[in-house]
Every structure is written in C-alpha cells, then in structure tokens.
C-alpha cells in the first residue's frame, strides 16, 4: 500500500507553521523521516495517524482518504507515538489484550495467541503479569511496539521510537521494525541518522516544515561520493576554516577537530576525500548544498 501526501500544510493557532506544502510518496517498506527537533516530523506523523487535521492538502493510503475516512484508516493503522504512558496498575498482558480488542481482534482465542506472540517477540513474555508501572523506559517502549503491531497494520507510524532506548534495546527494536517493513508501509521519524541508514530503503529529510530531500539512502550516499572531504585541525583553526570552506559537520577527535567539508572538487591542501555516509547527506542537505534548500551558489 502506498501513502500519497500531497500539498499538506499545517499552521498552529499560535502562528507556528509546522508543515509547508509537504508532498511525499511513501511506498511499502521502511521509510525514514529525518529531521532536527521541531522540524514538523511529529505533526506530519500525527496527521498520518488521523489525530490532527491538515489545513490544506490530501493524504491517501491506497484508495483511502486519510483525512476523511479516518475509521477505515484506523483499522489498518499501527501507531507508536513519540511519548506515551500506560496504566501503571495494569499488567502488560491485560492491557495488550484490551488494545487487541480495540484494534478489532474480537475472537478471544485469536486475541490470546496474538498477545502471546507479540509479548514474546518484544521479549516481555516473562514479565507479562507484572504491573506496567514497574517497567523501565525500554520495556515500556517495547510494549508500545507490541501495541502498534497489533492487528497486522498495513500502515505503521513510529514517531521517534529510539529516543529513550539503550543501544541494545535500540538494535532489537530496529530489528523488529525491519521485519515489519517487509509487508507494510512503515514510517519512522527520527533525528538519529543511524536509525535511517541502518533500516530504511527510502527517506526524506524535513526541516522547518519543508521536505528538503527525498531519496534512497544508498543512492544519496553514492551521489555524495567525491564531494565530502575531511581534515583534522586544531580547535582554534575552525573559525578560519569555516570562512573559506563549506563546513557541514565537525567532531572532536583526540583533542583536535575533525571537519567535514562539502565541495564538488578538492577544497585544498590538507583535505582528504572522505567516504560519505548518510550523516554527510543529512548535513549537506541541512546546510543547503543539496536538496531543495539549495543555496544560490
């Protein structure tokens, strides 16, 4: 099922324009929505999850109009919000069962099987009888995934899922998502580049409500080949370097500063060609060297 987002805009009552004429096509598979905090990711995600109304534009999931046919969309929707809570005094098994019923699994036996499978898959089976109030952040997050996975959703919306997870949990979580991406559209919003690079077949970069780049991660990295240069400099030399070169990212490395510079050609002495990664794509896009925020060069 393909998700078509056409010309979606959203302005909040306080005047903040969260989305500006967003147009995206999201095919089945894992789709990464990458952007800094406050870029409008969550607004877009909530519109897709039927919880907010766009001021303009249309969203279609296959034949379904997401804005108008909310009920039908919800029947095939899995949603993991950026932040959520639980009833602290209820057990995971009980609450997941409750949500399974809400998600439409009416048959008691089927419900039990699904709940068991999901709890096992999210590795919560051992603690299924314990109250959710005692869960750690990662366990809660996994519980949220289990809820989102209920009912075999055709559209999965996952908003900043890895934010509070420790590295091991993150890996496991991404694995889970990866499996799901095999037969439904999974949209993953994140501000962590690795999430996308490890998982997604397609991605978009969003900032200040605008889509800056829509690409396949591998292709985008490929295109960057030969344009990213690195150089290790002393801390104090950064300001001078920035004046002369298009610095897209800096990182500390053994007390010195590792600088990545965007340049279609060898920028000068001391620079060596870097093997580009998605981070370079991201920073180049944000800096306006590629994508729609192209600076007048």
């Amino acid at each position: 099922m393909e998700l078509q987002i056409r010309g979606v805009s959203k302005t909040y009552p306080n005047g903040v324009q969260a989305l500006k004429d967003v147009t995206l096509t999201i095919p089945a598979g894992m789709y990464g929505l990458l952007g800094p905090n406050g870029a409008g990711k969550s607004t877009l995600m909530r519109i897709l999850a039927t919880l907010q109304e766009p001021d303009e534009g249309t969203v279609h999931l296959g034949e379904l109009d997401v804005v108008r046919q909310k009920d039908a969309v919800r029947q095939t929707l899995g949603y993991l919000p950026q932040e959520f809570g639980v009833y602290p005094k209820v057990s995971a098994e009980e609450l997941l069962g409750h949500f399974a019923l809400l998600k439409g699994i009416g048959d008691r036996r089927a419900r039990r099987e699904v709940v068991e499978a999901l709890l096992r898959q999210t590795n919560l089976w051992e603690v299924r009888r314990q109250k959710l109030g005692g869960y750690s952040g990662g366990m809660k997050q996994r519980f949220g995934v289990a809820v989102a996975l209920l009912g075999n959703p055709g559209l999965m919306i996952v908003d900043e899922p890895t934010a509070g997870l420790d590295p091991a949990e993150r890996v496991r979580f991404l694995n889970l998502l990866g499996e799901l991406g095999e037969n439904s559209a999974v949209i993953l919003s994140t501000h962590i580049v690795e999430d996308v690079s490890e998982l997604c077949t397609r991605m978009a970069i969003i900032d200040r409500g605008e889509i800056l780049l829509e690409a396949e991660p591998l292709g985008a990295i490929e295109e960057m080949k030969g344009r990213i240069w690195r150089r290790v400099i002393e801390k104090g030399a950064l300001a001078a370097l920035e004046r002369e070169h298009a610095v897209i990212s800096t990182r500390l490395l053994g007390g010195n500063t590792l600088v990545h510079v965007y340049s279609p050609a060898q920028p000068g002495p001391g620079f060596e060609a870097a093997e580009p990664d998605l981070e370079d794509v991201y920073f180049s896009t944000m800096a306006g060297h590629i994508g729609r925020r192209r600076m007048p060069a």
Binding site: Q52, R68, Y79, L102, V114, S136, G151, A168, R172
Partner: protein
C-alpha cells in the same frame, strides 16, 4: 530574600492563570445568589438590613465553605506543580533552603486565596446594590462590617484551609492533593460535628471542631434580636477568638509537619502494599545478541474483523474497564461502601419523630434512600457530584495515562467509546443501588423489622432512582467528553447540575425545561405508587430521548486526536456525520418532539399550567378585583346535603350538593358571591329563588348572583351545584396523590364552593404583596379589632367555625368503604357499587373530609358515667397492615372520653367518633367534629421502643380528642391559645389520668426540648401570640402552671364556662380575652399577678440553683442549704428585656437518689413553696434521708427557658 523571590514568582505565575480567577468569578456569583436567595426574603420578613454585619458575617462563613472546594486548585498548583511538571530535579538542586522553598510557595498560595476570597464582599456588595432590592432593607454602608467579616472569618479560614491543602499536596506530591485536603478538612470538621451531635447530643462539645467558625458564629449571634442583627458588629469575643486561634494553630501545625517531612529528594514511589509484600521489580533485559531467537517467533496474521459483533464486544470491554477503573479509584466503591455503611449506621437514629422511634417499614426507609435529581436539599446530591467526578475521570483516563494518542488512533468508533464509558458508569450506579438496598435492609435488621419487601427495593432503587441517575450520567459524560479541558469540563458539568438543582428557584418551574426533572413519584403502603408513576415515566421517556440526542452530539463533538480548536472540531463533526448518525439524530429528535408534544399536551393543553409567578399574579389580581367585597353582608352556611360518587379506578369524583344559606345579618342581601374551588369543575349552580348571574370569572374563580328580591334578615335560601373532579391526562405537578385507585381522600375546603370573598386566597407574604403593589396588611386581625366588635367571623384563614347540619350519600366501588362525617345511617349495594348514607347527629364545622379505601374497621362502644351524655361509638378505619398502634389509640380515645366528659362536659358531637387513616405525607393527625384523621406516618410510631418511656401517640390522639371539645373561636390574635394550647392542656390531664404523674413529667420534659419547636423569647403576651412556641408549648405550660397553683378544677371550670357560652358558633365568637375573663373569674386574688404574668405579659422566670450542700446533723437528719437566684423579666417583640420585681411562692424541692433510669429525681424528700423575691437567697431545709438533688421549681412549672439550672446535685459536706 530568596523567599521573597519565590513568593513573587509564584504570585505572578498563578495570577496570570485563568484557573486562579475562575473561582473568584464563581465565588462572586455564588455569593450574589446566596445573599439574594437566602437573605432577601428574610430581611423583608424579619426586618433586618440585607447588608447588616450579621448577614455579611454569615454569608462570609458560608461562602468560604464554597470556596473550600472551588478554590482548592490554587494551593495544589503552587505546592505540586514542580513535581507534576517533572521540573523538581531542577528546583530541588538549586541552593534554596527548605524554609524558603516552602515558605515562599505557601505565602503565595495564601495571598492568592485571600485575594480570591475578596469575591465574597464583592458579591455581597453586588447583591445589595444591584437593582432588585427594596431600598427599605438596605442599611448604611459600613466598611467595618466587611472588614470584620473578612478579617475574623475569611482570612483565618483561608489560612487554615490553605495550610491543609498545601500540606497534603506537598507531601502527596500531587496537585489534586489540595482538593483531597479540602475534602478531608470538611469531612473531619462536619463529620466530627455530626458525630458529636449523634453520640453526645450536645452541640457545645463540638465547638473545638469548628474550624470555619460556623457553629461559633451561630453561637455568638443566637440570642440576637432583629435590632442587633441589623446593627451589631460581630466582634472578636472570647469564644470566637479562642476557637480561631486554636485552628490557626492547627494550620500552623500542619505546615510545621510538612516542613519537617519535606525533603529535596527524588521520590521513589512506594505503594502501600510494597512494605508488606516486597515485589521484585519488573525486569526483562534485552538479549544482547542481535538477531536472537525472538525474531523467529511469528505473530499470527490476525486482522481485525469489524462489525456490530466486534463493536458490542468493544463496548462491553470498555464498560468493564471503566467500571473497574472507578471501582478501584479512591473516590470509587470504597467511598460508596462507606456512604452505605454510614447510612446503615445513622438511619436507625433518624427513623424517629419527636424522639419516638418509627417502624422501619420499607416504604419509609426508601424515602431516606432516594431523592429526585432536582432536589438540592438532600444529602444525596453527593451522588450526582460523584457521577460528574467519575465522568471526568473516565473521559480523561486515557489522556492522563498518556495513552490518549494510541487509543484515539485505534479503530474504535466514538459511539463505542461513549457507550462503553456510559455503561461503566451505569454499572457503578447499579453497584451503588445494590449497596443502598443492602443498607436499607441492614437498617431494618438492626431495628428488628423483618418485612423486607425486596421487590419494592428493586422497583424503587433499580427502576426509578437509577433511571434519574443515568440521565445525569449521560449529561455529565457528554459535557466532559465534549469540553476539551478537564477543569472546564468539571466546571461546566457542575454548572449544568447546579442549573438543574436551582432551576425552580430561578423561576423555571416546568419540568419540560429542566433536564432530568419530572413530577415526583411516591409510594406508600396505602396507595402504592398510585397514579404518580405514569407522569414520571412520560417525563423520563422524554428526557431519555434528549439523552439520546445528547449522545449523538457527543459522538459528533467527542474530543479525539489533538485538535482542540472549535472550528476544526466542527469540521471533524461534519466528517463524522454518517448516515447511521443522522438516522439516530433524527430518531432522537423525533422522539423528543413526539414525547415532548405529548407531555405538553397533557400538562398545558389538557390541564392548565401556571408558573409560580403567574399564580401569585392571579392571587394579587383576585384581591384587586374582588377585594372590595370583603366583609359585605352575605348569608351564612347552615346546612349541606351532598351526593358524592367516587370512582376510584377512574380517579374521579362527582358531587351534587345543596347548600342551605341563612341571612344572619341585619341587612337585606341583594347578591350572593360564590367562590368555586380552583382545579375542579363547578357547574349547574342554581339558586332556588329568582336570580341572575352577573359575574362569572372562571380565571379568578369568582361568581356573583344578583337576587331579584333581596334576602331579608333571617330569611334562608337554597343553592345547588355540581362539582366534578377527574384528572385529564397529567399535570406538570404530577398526579393528585389522594386520588388513586386504592384510596380517595379529599377535603371540603379544596373542592366545595365557598360563599363570599375569600381573603385566604390573597397573597400574604409581605415581600410578595410589596412586589405586586398591594398594601401591607396584618396577617391576622388584632385583638383590639376583635374587642371593638368587628365581625371577625373566622370563616377564612383558619377554617370554618360556622356550625352546619350535614348529610351525605356516598357511593364507591364495591370493595371499598367510604367515610364521611356523622353517623352511618344506612349502607347498601346497588349496581355493583356500595353506598353509604351519613348524617351528623349534631352540627359540624364547614371543614370535613371524605375517604374511600379498602379499610379494616374496628368498632367499639364507650359508655359514659350516668348523666354525662350518650354512649359513643368509637371506630377506627385503618390500612389492614397498619394495626400496630390500634390498641394504644383506642385506649387514648377512651381515656379522653372519660376525662374530658368529666372536665369539660359531654361529648359534643353526637354518638360517633371516628379515627381514619389517610395517605398523607408527614406524621400528624387532624381533628374535625366526629372525625380525626391521621396520616400513614402516624401509624409508624413505635413508642414501645422509646427510650424516654413516653407514649407520644397516646398524647397526640388525646390532643386531637380535646379538639372535639374545642370552642369555636374568632380568627384573631391569641386564637391558638383557644385551640392548640387548650388541646395540649387537656391532653396533659388525660395523660396524667391514664399513666400517672411521672408520665406527664416525661411529656412535659419533651415539651421543654428545643426540638421540634424551639422557644421564642421575644414575643407578645400569650393573649395575642400566634407563633408555634406560644401555641404548642408556652400556652399549655401557662395553663398547667395556673392549674398547679390554684387546682386544675378551677381552670377546667373556666374552660367549661367558655365552651358553654360559645358552643353554638353564633357570633360573637370567642377570643382569648373571653378566656382571660373566665380565668380571672376563678382566680383567687393572691394569684392575680401570676395570671397576669402568664397570659397578659410575656414573662420568663429565671430561676437558678447556684449551689446545694448538705450536712448530717447530730440527730441523723440532713440539713440542706441551697443558694438560689431568682429573676423575672418580660421580653418585648424587639427583644428588649425588662426586669420586673418578683415576690411569689415557688416550690423548693429536695430529692433522694434516682432509683430508676429515665426518672428525673428519686423520692421526694421535701417539696414546699417558699416565698421568693428577686435576687439571691439562701434556703435551708432539713430532710430525713441523704439527699441527692435539690433546687428551686424543680418541675419547671413556671416558664423558664433555661432548662438545666433549676436543680443541682447536692454536695455532701463532711
């Protein structure tokens, strides 16, 4: 300085928030309504200023109680915002000391609350000076009054409450804790006071609990006269000061405790059970290996199957979830169980009337367990309040748990969410009804009553009461679900409920306009539900249709997702407008229109509906238009012949009647004024001499017939008419509870046409008269007017004194017995109906009643001593199941006949006396010649269980019996002395005759209790008094005192002479002055002063024994020394007391220790009158045995409002 910084920051932060000032606005409005609603009428009536210091103080205290809940949010916000916002790690780690951290915040909360409480004086000022208040009741503006009220009441209350709220919220780390603190404080204070009253029965002991100075204020102002209430400032006198300081201390203590317990520390949640059963924390580590076995698990590919079956399942699941959520919450089943337990515990003590226990019959117990939704004056308002609270919790449950987005994105239709939560709420209410029923049965079990009638519990609680609560649940849930802010939702729901409660007071009286309101249903053993159920049901169906419509609205506007803007939500609503929704809306709207139309047809087309103000308007119009006919010569009723056909199943009565009218005046009468009764059809009026109708006013119920030839003095005239009463459909006020298939009961004054202008139909409340531009008028003619020979016929107001010949033929259903005044001449059955022919042996009054029901009848004959009249047949018509007090009542009737015949002459109403049970409300009895009717409630008396050993029903029947000997009296000042005071004086004699002196003392002790009739000191003398204290207490006491001083025989002789002179009922009628003359005639000179003090002055004797000591003499006797204080005062109606010199003979008594429980004293060792003058005396007497109690006027023969200081325990000196 940091403290000041914190204080200023908090103050500024909270002052910017709307939720801080909403309570201010609400409080101002409440104060306004409170002053206008509670004090305006009182001020007009009792003549004190609306803005007097007294009123301002009372309003301040009450409104600070409203604030306690309304304004609780502020302290909670200030105390727990950091923790709730998760900001505490930042604020806890800055270098601020605990005192500064807490102190700044507390001060800010206190100052804010003090500011919010300024709404009270503002509300008072608005209420006083906004249009709508008579200039007469506005006194001068006195800033000191406002300052005193604010300073002595509002500020300390704010401090105490804020301290508690702040402490609970700080230590509980929840903002809601401040509400909990409010409820806690309120519960401790008022629960404590209630418990003290219940168990210790002395209000004084509750004083230390008085955190809000509520009791104290009433204590301090209790004896204030109207003048004082108008002018006197409430000062900080001893009692008030100490109690205020005590509670300010308690508030400070709470703060100190909070300071001690508070830690700048991370709070690890420690559940209550945690300490008992240490659970291991949940831990499920993520396997380190990537691509572990977990991913091999396959999740069954189950997709939702959406359809009605699933929606039904989801609804039930949500209902169960919601039920469990409420049930487990703090304000859930525990609270309900506690409420039920309190009910079961407290009710037995409340099942009493005037101190006598009542049988806990199911019909009666149920009246305590139920209340209409629209009734504000019941403790059960707590249930709707809880429903509103629960509805809010349910609607906000997911959102507050952070599950809102997930749930909202789940494929659950809005109506399933709504219906599920509604069912959950309904389940809680069902549980509550079950608990209530259990409480009711427990009450009956405790009281040893075993006819439980579970079916009735089921019908009433689960059928009737539950329906009303469910309607409110729908409303609350709709409001909470549609309003996108929880606090606002609560406020809106509360406002809606307040409108329901107070609609009637705001002038909206039609049940079609007030959600959930209906004419009350009622149930009693005698009439069952009667006809009360059908109107209730129609209204409920109508409101049910509205509820459905509301539910549709809720589906459309249900807050889902994150959109809160109105426009967006309206757009969303359009999107939700699916065909089934439209269909449901159309059905609901159709039902509303159809049912509403049907109800309207019944209440306003078939019947006439008039609002309260319209009724008042008509009464004013009646006076304006026809008042000029008041007192014009009219013939008087001399005889009545009636043919009454009662059709119980149709609830219809048809009467054909003939009046025999006689011109007793000295003038010729040229026109007859007839006043048909409202509410029935009076027709076929015919005068049996040529006449023509000149006025026929069907709106104000007045007709005038001009006679072609005037009716000469002494001439008579016959007038015939028909009266038809049959309900058409039902009324807004519901069905007449006395016209039911099981029982029919009506009184002449309700249905029978009356002769002449009827002053009783005029408006009489001063405020109402003023509002309609009518002149002030005395409520009752003065004695001076009576003495001046004005014709005070007594035909109006207090009922007819004319004596009429009476005859009636009454027909009813074959299974029922009809009762009317007079002797039953004949009874027969004809065409399946039973007929009864009654005729009075002797003339009766113009008030009489008819009854028809399946009565059980008891009959016996009482024979008088030779030469004292004829034998009298005693009949008791009672509900077959209500025979518990039958013997007792009969004993009382016989004792009364015995004693009154001897004391006042033969039974004056022929050969029959009847006691008839009627289905009326309340607990009472009423006497008319030949017939005493008593309510079903009266049959509930269970005097065998009376801890005082007092046979109150016996006394009440004796009282009613005495009315049979009553003298026809003029409707003027002092009239109650001739009726009620006489009847109780006589009954005291009957009680003494039957049960002895000690029992009489029990009755007199009951009379001295301030309940149900509190003593009134500021009044006119008995000869002019009208108030209940004078009529039922002081009057009988005065007559009794006189009989104690000069012998009962002499007092009875005075009565006998008065009765003999006035028995015929011919004018001039008796007044209290006539009685006084008769009393004077029998009073020896030595007691003239006493007679005057008792009746012609409003006198109180203040007799007190300060100390009593005893010493054993050498001879072995005991010498008792009493120090007594005596004073005599008269009190005028304005409360001015004047001391008058005292010099009279008053008994001094010394008593042995009590031998039996319940007795005042033991054996009398000494009881002799001593001459007592005003001032202190030391009296020494010698008694043969060891004394226990001694005092002056030990039996309180003289009128003394301080009941407990006459007798003291004797101290034995060694």
């Amino acid at each position: 300085m940091k403290l000041l910084g914190i204080f200023r920051f908090e103050l500024a932060y909270q002052a910017r928030r709307l939720s801080t000032w909403l309570p201010f606005a609400a409080l101002a409005v409440i104060t306004f309504l409170f002053v206008r609603g509670n004090f305006l009428a009182d001020a007009l009536y009792a003549d004190f200023y609306l803005n007097s210091p007294y009123v301002i103080a009372v309003v301040t205290v009450f409104c600070s109680l409203f604030w306690l809940l309304l304004g609780a949010g502020v302290a909670g916000e200030v105390a727990a915002r950091d923790v709730e916002a998760g900001m505490h790690p930042l604020t806890y780690t800055v270098p601020v000391r605990k005192a500064e951290h807490l102190g700044g915040r507390f001060l800010a909360a206190f100052v804010l609350n003090a500011l919010v409480l300024l709404a009270v004086p503002l509300g008072v000022v608005l209420a006083v000076y906004a249009p709508g208040v008579d200039a007469e009741v506005i006194g001068p503006f006195r800033p000191a009054a406002y300052l005193a009220a604010y300073g002595f009441f509002a500020l300390p209350n704010a401090f105490i409450a804020t301290a508690v709220q702040f402490s609970v919220a700080t230590l509980g780390r929840r903002a809601i804790g401040s509400y909990l603190g409010s409820v806690l404080l309120f519960g401790v204070v008022y629960g404590g006071i209630f418990a003290v009253m219940l168990f210790l029965r002395r209000l004084e002991y509750a004083a230390p609990l008085d955190a809000f100075a509520h009791l104290t204020l009433f204590d301090v102002t209790l004896g204030w006269t109207p003048i004082e209430k108008s002018t006197r400032l409430v000062g900080l006198d001893g009692r008030l000061l100490w109690r205020r300081l005590l509670w300010i201390g308690i508030g400070a203590g709470a703060l100190a405790f909070t300071y001690a317990r508070f830690r700048f520390a991370h709070h690890a949640p420690r559940p209550l059970w945690g300490r008992l059963a240490r659970r291991r924390p949940a831990h499920a580590p993520t396997p380190a290996a990537i691509g572990d076995a977990g991913s091999a698990i396959s999740v069954p590919q189950v997709r939702g199957a959406f359809g009605p079956a699933l929606y039904a399942r989801q609804t039930l699941a949500i209902a169960g979830e919601s039920f469990r959520a409420i049930a487990k919450s703090r304000a859930g089943l525990v609270v309900l169980a506690v409420l039920a337990a309190i009910t079961a515990r407290v009710l037995p003590e409340n099942l009493e009337s005037m101190g006598t226990p009542l049988l806990p019959r199911t019909e009666y117990v149920l009246t305590f367990l139920t209340a209409p939704l629209t009734d504000p004056m019941t403790p059960w308002v707590v249930v709707p309040l809880l429903v509103i609270l629960w509805a809010g919790e349910l609607v906000w449950r997911e959102r507050e748990a952070g599950l809102g987005e997930i749930t909202d994105a789940a494929p659950v239709p809005e109506w399933v969410l709504f219906l599920g939560k509604l069912l959950g709420l309904g389940l809680v209410l069902v549980a509550w009804m079950a608990l209530l029923a259990l409480a009711g049965v427990l009450v009956q079990v405790q009281m040893g009553y075993t006819r439980f009638e579970l079916g009735l519990y089921l019908k009433v609680l689960f059928g009737l009461q539950l329906a009303e609560y469910l309607l409110l649940a729908v409303l609350a849930l709709v409001i909470q679900g549609v309003v996108s802010q929880k606090y606002l939702g609560h406020l809106a729901a509360l406002a809606a409920y307040a409108l329901i409660l107070f609609a009637a007071r705001l002038g909206v009286g039609h049940n079609l306009l007030v959600y959930g309101s209906a004419p009350d249903w009622s149930y009693t053993d005698m009439r069952g539900f009667g006809a009360s159920l059908a109107p209730w049901l129609w209204f409920m169906l109508y409101w049910g249709a509205w509820a459905l419509l509301l539910a549709v609205a809720a589906r459309l506007l249900w807050v889902r997702g994150l959109e809160r803007g109105l426009r967006t939500r309206l757009r969303l609503a359009r999107g939700r407008l699916t065909r089934p929704t439209v269909r449901a809306a159309a059905v609901a709207a159709g039902l509303v229109v159809a049912l509403g139309g049907f109800v309207f047809y019944n209440t306003n087309v078939l019947n006439e509906y008039r609002s309260a103000s319209e009724v008042a308007g008509r009464r004013a119009e009646y006076e304006r238009r026809y008042g000029r006919y008041e007192g014009i010569p009219q013939p008087r009723l001399a005889g009545v012949r009636l043919r009454v056909e009662i059709h119980p199943r149709r609830r219809a009565v048809e009467i054909r009647g003939t009046y025999h009218l006689v011109n007793h005046t000295a003038a010729a009468i040229d026109s007859i004024h007839l006043a048909p009764a409202p509410g029935v059809e009076t027709g076929s009026v015919r005068l049996h001499r040529p006449a023509r109708r000149v006025v026929a006013d069907d709106v104000l119920w007045h007709q005038v017939y001009a006679l072609e030839s005037p009716l000469q003095p002494g001439d008579s005239l016959r007038l015939s008419f028909t009266v038809r009463a049959e309900p058409r459909g039902f009324r807004n006020g519901g069905a007449n509870p006395f016209m039911t298939p099981n029982i029919t009961y009506f009184r002449s004054q309700e249905w029978m046409p009356a002769i002449g202008y009827q002053p009783g139909r005029e408006l009489f409340k001063p405020a109402e008269r003023r509002a309609h531009g009518l002149p002030r008028r005395p409520m009752v003619p003065s004695l001076a007017a009576a003495g001046a020979g004005q014709d005070i016929t007594g035909e109006t107001g207090m009922g007819g004194v004319e004596r009429i010949a009476f005859e009636a033929v009454v027909g009813t259903d074959a299974g029922q017995t009809a009762v009317a005044p007079g002797a039953l001449r004949r009874t027969w059955t004809e065409r399946g109906r039973r007929w009864f022919h009654y005729a009075a042996d002797a003339p009766i009054g113009t008030e009489y009643a008819f009854f028809s029901a399946r009565y059980a009848v008891h009959e016996e004959v009482w024979t008088p001593p030779a030469g004292s009249g004829q034998p009298v047949t005693i009949q008791v018509y009672h509900h077959p199941a209500h025979a518990a007090n039958l013997d007792r009542m009969l004993r009382s009737v016989r004792a009364s006949l015995d004693y009154y015949t001897r004391a006042f002459g033969p039974y004056p109403h022929g050969r029959i006396i009847r006691l008839v049970e009627n289905p009326g409300g309340g607990i009472g009895a009423h006497a008319e010649p030949t017939t005493i009717d008593y309510t079903e409630g009266f049959s509930r008396f269970d005097p065998d269980q009376d801890p005082r050993g007092l046979d109150l029903p016996f006394a009440i029947i004796a009282h009613e019996m005495a009315h049979e000997w009553g003298v026809p009296y003029a409707f003027a000042e002092g009239a109650p002395l001739l009726s009620e005071s006489f009847a109780w004086y006589a009954a005291m004699g009957a009680v003494e005759e039957a049960y002895g002196r000690e029992h009489l003392e029990r009755l007199r002790r009951f009379f001295r209790q301030p309940q149900p009739i509190p003593p009134i000191r500021q009044s006119v003398p008995l000869l002019r008094a009208l108030d209940p204290y004078a009529a039922y207490r002081k009057g009988p006491f005065a007559l009794y005192a006189l009989s104690e001083y000069m012998g009962r025989e002499r007092v009875d002789v005075a009565w006998r002479r008065l009765i003999a002179k006035h028995r015929s009922g011919a004018p001039p009628l008796a007044t209290s002055l006539d009685l006084y003359r008769e009393l004077q005639a029998v009073t020896p000179d030595s007691l003239r002063t006493l007679l005057h003090d008792l009746f012609a002055a409003n006198t109180f004797w203040e007799l007190e024994t300060e100390r009593a000591t005893a010493r054993r003499t050498a001879a072995g006797a005991w010498q008792v020394t009493l120090r007594v204080k005596a004073r005599k005062v008269t009190v005028d109606p304005a409360g001015r007391e004047t001391e008058v010199p005292m010099d009279e003979w008053i008994p001094i008594g010394v008593f042995a220790p009590t031998e039996r429980q319940g007795a005042d004293f033991g054996r009398t060792l000494y009881l002799r009158p001593h001459r007592i003058r005003s001032g202190q005396h030391t009296i020494t007497v010698t008694v043969p045995r060891r004394p226990s109690d001694a005092g002056i006027d030990p039996y309180l023969v003289l009128i003394d409002t301080e009941r407990f200081d006459n007798v003291e325990e004797v101290e034995i000196e060694r």
